[in-house]
């Protein structure tokens, strides 16, 4: 949160946000599964102005070797922003922020994968942000869990995730870039709707207990909505390939 300059209005008097949404309304979300040829599983996601590709390789031999676990697979996620995904060019390669995000996403995904089925292996998840507009970590996690399912990896469930926050003193769902930059709180969260389990949660900024309650309520509802979009993407993927989703069929890629 980079402070709240008083001259920036994020919510109008009628309760409508600068992009025309209501406080508890999400940006349009679109997910497509199975978009890459080489990867074992993949997904492309557009969420508002965010554009993200996730790919899964594995289970495969674990590198580096010393990370191997004789009892189960490890999930290694790499979250990366492309240099042109943000307004000032980002230097290519990992930084401290992306390393932290990669770690918490790996942990969230590890929980849903039946890792004990694949001892000594690694399941590698790559998240590439082509265009960023706030909420890329939750968008990346949302896409990654669809890519895992597309790879045919046995999982307990999909992982929908969303960010809630506070802008102009109000709790708002799915922060846009302006609300993220000038708002006063940000709370990214991943939750399995079926069980209510929270797999990723961070928070920064300033919120009262009541506000946190309200934010979590918004997030719970949104995760249900995102979950439906995730399932729909997988359903369409399987319908298209006649149940044979693991094979190369680049014909289903959109231009």
């Amino acid at each position: 949160m980079s402070g709240t300059p008083s001259d920036i209005k994020l919510i109008y008097e009628n309760g409508i946000r600068i992009d025309g949404r209501k406080a508890d309304e999400m940006r349009p979300l679109k997910i497509e599964a199975g978009v890459l040829k080489r990867a074992d599983g993949s997904a492309y996601l557009e969420w508002g102005k965010n554009k993200i590709i996730a790919a899964v390789y594995g289970p495969r031999e674990c590198h580096p070797r010393h990370m191997q676990n004789p009892a189960k697979a490890i999930v290694q996620c790499k979250y990366n922003m492309m240099s042109f995904s943000v307004s000032d060019r980002k230097r290519p390669g990992p930084d401290r922020r992306s390393i932290e995000i990669s770690k918490i996403i790996s942990e969230a995904l590890e929980y849903v994968v039946f890792t004990e089925n694949f001892p000594r292996t690694s399941i590698d998840v790559y998240i590439e942000v082509l265009q960023a507009n706030a909420g890329t970590r939750v968008a990346g996690l949302t896409a990654a869990s669809v890519a895992l399912a597309d790879a045919g990896i046995p999982m307990k469930d999909l992982v929908p995730a969303v960010a809630v926050g506070k802008a102009d003193g109000q709790i708002v769902l799915d922060l846009n870039k302006e609300e993220d930059n000038y708002g006063s709180a940000d709370l990214p969260i991943a939750m399995i709707p079926r069980t209510g389990e929270v797999l990723l949660m961070q928070m920064d900024g300033h919120m009262t207990m009541e506000e946190v309650d309200k934010a979590l309520g918004y997030a719970k509802k949104a995760c249900q909505e995102i979950y439906e979009v995730q399932k729909d993407a997988l359903r369409r993927r399987y319908a298209m390939s006649g149940g044979d989703a693991g094979e190369d069929d680049s014909s289903d890629e959109e231009a």
Binding site: L36, K37, A39, M82, G93, S250
Partner: protein, 257 residues
């Protein structure tokens, strides 16, 4: 592109087909796979393109900023080309700083664009010796199914053609399209035993002996070349590849726009 091993059976199959003048996917030796070009897909970039050549998929973004010129070219903008072979694109790509293949790839793309004088770098000078536009052409491979050299080149060219110089946000007057003076096209062919194949697939690259990329401009002049891999090409083969490249470049230029 260090790729994994190829099975003896597949290798034998490719060789056997070629001895009958055929390719695994049924293409003619000088035939490209379908090329799909999409531009303006990244709003946060000044120019962008996503290009698919068969199963190979790349995204290119152009970012522009103001900086100092190089001392030996005080009146010219700066071009920087970078290619990232990210592990999302292939089971054999690893994260980390660019390896020699990625560096060769980026330098070949850079050379084709620079030597063809595609960008009028003089028009990207703001104050001689002090302020010029810096172009970052950043290439990311998303899916690797052979012939990265051409896919990345077409992506870079399409993204540059789509670039708007962001003068307004830097207080340098109105935005204007990237000043371009030429339209280079590159083709890449590999030699497998005695066959010359354009636009090699990944499997063809794995058994290739030599590779030659040729960049020509819209006047039919040669602008850049790069020979790669450990095999040899005869002078006749080189000439034949250049001739074919020139012939193919017309059709490719129409596709890239």
């Amino acid at each position: 592109m260090s790729e994994d091993v190829i099975s003896q059976i597949k290798k034998g199959h490719i060789h056997k087909l070629l001895s009958m003048g055929r390719r695994m996917d049924g293409r003619a030796a000088d035939e490209y796979r379908p090329i799909i070009v999409e531009t303006g897909i990244i709003e946060s970039a000044q120019g962008s393109a996503r290009v698919k050549v068969g199963g190979t998929d790349v995204v290119v973004g152009v970012k522009m900023d103001i900086g100092s010129p190089f001392a030996d070219t005080p009146d010219r903008g700066v071009l920087t080309t970078n290619a990232e072979l990210i592990p999302l694109a292939s089971p054999t790509f690893e994260s980390g700083p660019p390896d020699p293949s990625a560096i060769e790839l980026a330098r070949v793309i850079d050379r084709g664009i620079r030597e063809s004088e595609m960008i009028d770098l003089q028009k990207l000078c703001i104050v001689e010796g002090e302020e010029v536009w810096i172009n970052f052409v950043d290439i990311y491979v998303l899916d690797y199914d052979g012939n990265l050299f051409d896919a990345c080149f077409y992506g870079a060219v399409a993204a540059l053609k789509n670039t708007i110089v962001p003068a307004e946000e830097h207080g340098k007057g109105e935005n204007y399209p990237m000043p371009l003076s030429h339209f280079p096209i590159q083709t890449t062919a590999v030699k497998i035993e005695n066959s010359i194949l354009f636009d090699p697939t990944l499997d063809e690259e794995k058994v290739a002996d030599a590779r030659l990329s040729v960049t020509t401009d819209e006047n039919g002049d040669l602008r850049a070349m790069q020979k790669g891999l450990a095999g040899a090409l005869t002078l006749d083969e080189v000439k034949s590849i250049i001739d074919t490249s020139l012939r193919l470049s017309k059709g490719l230029r129409e596709i890239i726009g």
